[in-house]
Every structure is written in C-alpha cells, then in structure tokens.
Amino acid sequence: MTSSMLLLNLIVDGVTLGCIYSLIAIGFSLLWWIAGIVHIAHGATMLAGGFALFAALEMGGAGLSVALLAGLLGAVALGVIVEIFMYRPLLNRGTDEMGILTASLGALIFFEYAITIAFGPEGATLDAGGLRTPVIQGLPLVFDRFSALIVCVTLLTFLALWFLLAKTQIGREMRAIASNLDLAEVLGINIRLVQVYAAAIAAALCLPPAAFLLFNTGLVPSEALHVVLVASVVAILGGRGSLLGALVAGLLIGVAESAMTWRFAAGWRQLITFSLLYVLLLVRPQGLFGERV
C-alpha cells in the first residue's frame, strides 16, 4: 500500500469515527441549546442505551429489532428520569449553570457505577460479522459495509433531526425556547413539557452511536466521561445549536485524529482534538457555525 493510499484509508476510517462522534455530540448539543444544560450525564444515557441493547441481544436472546427497541427505551427512560427528577427540581430552585453541571457529573458517576455493578467493568463488545466485508471487493480501500452503515445512519439521523426542528410544531417550539425562553412562555408554550421532549429526543439520539460502538470498539462503563468529553468538544467546535456544526466538527475531529497517525504515533491522537479546540476558541469562540453573542 502506498503512502497516499494509507492516508486515504486513514481519512476514510476517520470519517466513520467522526460520524460516531457527531452522533454522540448531537444529543448533548440539543439539550445545551434548548435547555441551557451542560448535560454531562449524556455519557451515562448512551451507556444505558448500549447496555440495554447488549442485554437484550446477548442475555435475553432477542432479535436485533427488539434489542434496538430495548436500547431505545433504556436510553430514553434514563434521559427523561434525569430531566424530570434531577434537572427540573434544581432549575425550579434557581440552581445556576455550575450547580447543574456538577449535579449532572454526579449523575454520570452514579449511573457509571450502576452499569459497572450490573455488567462488570470489562464492558461489552459484539461482532459485526458479515457487515465487516468490503463494500467493493478487491480494492486497497478499507471501507466495509459496517462503515457504510454508520455513514448512512448518521446522515439520516441528522436529516431527521433537521426535519423535526424545522418542519414540526414541537421543533418550532424547541427553537422558540432556545431563542427566547421568556417570550416562548408568553406565547403559551409549555416550556416544561417541551424540555422533557427535548431530553427524550437527546436520549434517543444516543442509541445509534451506542450500537455502533458496541459492534465496533466496545462499550466500557469507565469510558462514560470520555464519551461526554468528546461530545462537548464537538458541540463547542460546531457551535451552540448548530446541527451542521455538530456534523462537521465531529467529522473534522474524527478525520484529524485518524489522519495524524499517518506521520505520528497513534498514542498521541487525542492531542489533536484539544489542540483543534484551543485554536478554534482563540479565533472563533462561537464555534464553526455558531452565532456570535
């Protein structure tokens, strides 16, 4: 394999990784934008979805569609529980952003421990089996059907979310709340209910990346904080409330992390993530597609 072919393969692999990053980030970004919550517990929500999927498949012997439904229910249930029983009471008491962030971090640690106790610290990995065959046989390009599935699901998820926000009543209400909370309340929007919907949607968006990680590098409970760190970097890079920003930032980080191994040791990959964030914060603090406040 030539050096340029290696670089191309690393970029292609980085696109797949970036898609997973974007999917992880979009739910985090949604709650940050609509409810103003730095949703650190997002990492736990993703793990809940992934491990519910794993339990249904491996322990329950369910088919993939039933297991995906179980994963969806697991993630949404946890997301809504955190919203109703933790964020809402704290917000009603006037807890500031730092207080909410700390509480969210506490929730992340609590659920990480719970998942560790239930499934063990080793985590879970499943084999993607036949999906790991190349899309086109005989090419030196490493792009298999599993990677193609990740790219397709990512694009469809972002399109569906765009449609929901731009074309539906609940989406318009979400945007109204994100734009001006007081005005939205005056207009009669049920803020509380819409924010619960937002939490449910953010949690549901955890399922695709959880499933992809489960069948790819595996899900490990202690990775919850790392997951949410990546999500927050992508959300900040992309710009608050920007769907396109989250997609582009995720891809940018994924490709940068992967491509840098072309010339440097892979052990230094994550350095690139935070270097990118630092440079962007210097030159464009509102993020790639965010609006300057």
Binding site: N9, D13, D127, R132, V142, N216, A266
Partner: protein
C-alpha cells in the same frame, strides 16, 4: 470505582470443617496467611480469576491434609499500579502477610520497593517484563521473562512460520517498552526486517488507525506486546476486520478466555507458554489435573497450574521453616527458598530459579488457537 477496586475476598473458609478436624487431630496451632494480589476485575480480571482457581485448589488441598492451615487473602489490583500499592499496603500492614502472590509488570514494579522495605516476599507467575530483573531481593518470578521467550519464538517464527517482515505493536507500558526493545534486538540479530513499530495507550479501544499503518507495510506477522487479554482480543479482531489474514505473535498472557471469545478470528495466532501437559504421567501433575477437573468439571490450563504451584511452593518452604522451628517471616522465607530450593518440581513442570536476578527458566512450547481451544504445536527447547 472504589466499591469494585477494593473488593477483598477472604478465601479458604470453605475448607473450615477440614481445618477444624486437622487442628484437633494433629495439633495445628498456626495459620499461615498468604496474600493474593492480582487483577480480579477489569480487562485482565477473567485471567486473574482463573489464576485464583489454581491457588485456591492448592489451599483447599493443604488445609484438608490438616498439618498446616493456610488462609488466602485476595486483593484486586485490576493490574493497575495504584490499586496494587493500595492492595499491598493492606496485605502487609493490616493482614500482616509475610508472602504475596502477585503479577503484572506495572503492579510488581510499583510494589517491589515496598516489599523490600517491609520484607514481604513476592512470588509471581504472571510478570513477563525483563525490566523486573533484580527489581527486589524480595521478588522471584516463576514465569520466564519475555526477553527469554522472545529469543525462543522469533527464531521459530522466522524458520517455521516463514516470517520475514515483522510489524510491532507496542503497548505504552513498562512491559511494552521492555518487550519491544527485546523484540527489536532479537529480530535484528536474526538479520530480519522490522517493517514498523506502532504504539498504543493502555486504555485504547480503537486500534484501527495503528493497524492500518502497520498493514500498509505488509508484514508477515505482527507481534502484539499487550498483557491484557481484552485488548489483545480487540487488536486481533479489528485487524481481521481490516482484512489482515496474517500471523500474530505473542507470549503467555495471550492465553486468556477473551481471546477464545473472538472465535475463528483468533486462529493464526502463535505464542509461547511454559510446558504444561495435562496428560503427563508424573504424580504431581496427575494429582493436580485430577483434582482440578473434579472440582471444576474442566481441565486446568497453564495459569491455573502455575498458581497452584506457587501455593504449594509456599507451603513446602513454610513446612521446612516449621521443622526448623523458625518463624515464617518474609526474610526467613527468602533465606529458606534461596538456599534450599534452586529448583522446584511442580504440577506445571520444573522451575530452575536464578535468585541473583529473580528470573526462572522453564521448558517452553509454542501454542496456537485451534477449534476454540489453545493447543500446543511445538516444543521450543
């Protein structure tokens, strides 16, 4: 994760009825406390649990005989230095054990100075790094260091597996660095080409970029230095998913249930292991294999045999000291072991100790994965 990390299990209690009977009929008055500081959870947890089964069987047998009573006190290191230090301090300072069975390079390297200071003797059947040579006068390995096993498997790979180009995947760890250096030196001595060396962090789960880089050099084999079974399984699985059909080389830590969990993808992996034959006719091995099979309804593996031997060796040294009416301290144990036990014949074969640097020599074989099992394919010495 304190609740999991600090899990402490006091073992040997299941043998209580035997202990009571032995104590009455043979006048047992001393309980020997034995530390077991190994990964019981985490990526190496399954392997550590497996090793515990071997040690526990030896404890049960000794306690059932009634002449001595052993209490095995287990602490979970998770193969992490920090947890290892916490566990060692608890064993040495709270439980007051004179002797600890331990393993994994990071843990041994971290606790060796503490063992020297507190004169607690460390025995290990699961530390492969040559960096541990002479790490402490209170440390002895019963597992060959990997500069020795590298000198055995690399010529085998070159001659029998026709490996001309070797890729090296090194874990960023004490063991990884020492093993990587040994491999490069030996491969160069054989006049062969090292196509590439790539490294990865010990918490990495995505090896695809590193593997893509290695595969671009078209190696005949990849030597993986990880001592973590789960990581090794991930490396092999992800390489196969990228279309790599070549050989993987490794060492004894590769014999981990996590490897078998990836099924056929684990085939064409070759690693060194001390000789251990479950069908051997000598009495010690046969007795161990029979007892283990009876208890667990499956035959034992090399790790279980090694850890059975550690407890039996401890018991033999302790018995000598008891006959000499000497107290069982770490210092006395060391003196007795180094003066009276230059070799030891256990269930896993003969151990030839080099007390000058804490190493050991054992007969070694090459094993591979075939039909969902680890199988021997050749003797190396």
């Amino acid at each position: 994760m304190t609740m999991i990390d600090r899990r402490s299990v006091v073992l040997g209690l299941s043998a209580a009825p035997f202990l009571t009977r032995g104590a009455v009929s043979q006048g047992v008055s001393t309980t020997y406390r034995l530390g077991f500081l190994m990964p019981l959870t985490g990526g190496s947890g399954k392997l550590g649990q497996m090793m515990l089964e071997g040690s526990q069987l030896a404890v049960d047998e000794i306690n059932a005989e009634g002449s001595r009573k052993i209490e095995l006190i287990a602490e979970d290191s998770q193969a992490l230095a920090k947890n290892g230090i916490d566990g060692f301090r608890k064993l040495a300072e709270v439980d007051k054990v004179p002797f600890v069975i331990t393993g994994w390079t990071a843990v041994v390297a971290a606790i060796a100075p503490l063992a020297t200071e507190s004169k607690v003797y460390l025995l290990s059947a699961s530390s492969a790094s040559p960096a541990l040579r002479s790490v402490s006068p209170y440390f002895q390995s019963t597992w060959m260091f990997d500069d020795e096993t590298v000198r055995l498997i690399l010529p085998y790979a070159a001659q029998k597996l026709n490996v001309a180009k070797l890729g090296l995947l090194t874990e960023v760890s004490d063991l990884g660095a020492a093993l990587g250096a040994s491999i490069k030196k030996e491969w160069s001595r054989l006049g062969k080409e090292l196509s590439i060396e790539e490294s990865f962090q010990s918490k990495e789960t995505n090896f695809r970029p590193s593997l893509l880089k290695i595969l671009a050099t078209k190696p005949d084999a990849i030597y993986n230095t990880s001592s973590n079974g789960k990581l090794s399984a991930q490396v092999v699985r992800q390489a196969r998913e990228l279309g790599y059909e070549g050989i993987f080389l490794s060492y004894g830590a590769f014999e981990d249930p996590e490897i078998l969990a990836i099924g056929q993808k684990a085939e064409k992996c070759f690693y060194t292991s001390p000789t251990f034959d479950t069908t051997a006719r000598n009495e010690t091995t046969r007795k161990f294999v029979d007892a283990f099979t009876r208890k667990h309804s499956r035959p034992p593996n090399i790790h279980q045999a090694n850890h059975y031997d550690l407890v039996q060796l401890f018991s033999a040294v302790a018995a000598n000291l008891a006959r000499e009416k000497a107290p069982l301290t770490g210092q006395a144990f060391r003196t007795e072991l180094t003066s009276k036990f230059p070799t030891y014949d256990g269930a896993a074969g003969r151990y030839r100790f080099n007390f000058a640097d804490g190493s050991v020599m054992r007969s070694t074989v090459v094993k591979t994965v075939k039909d969902g099992a680890f199988v021997k394919i050749a003797d190396l010495d």
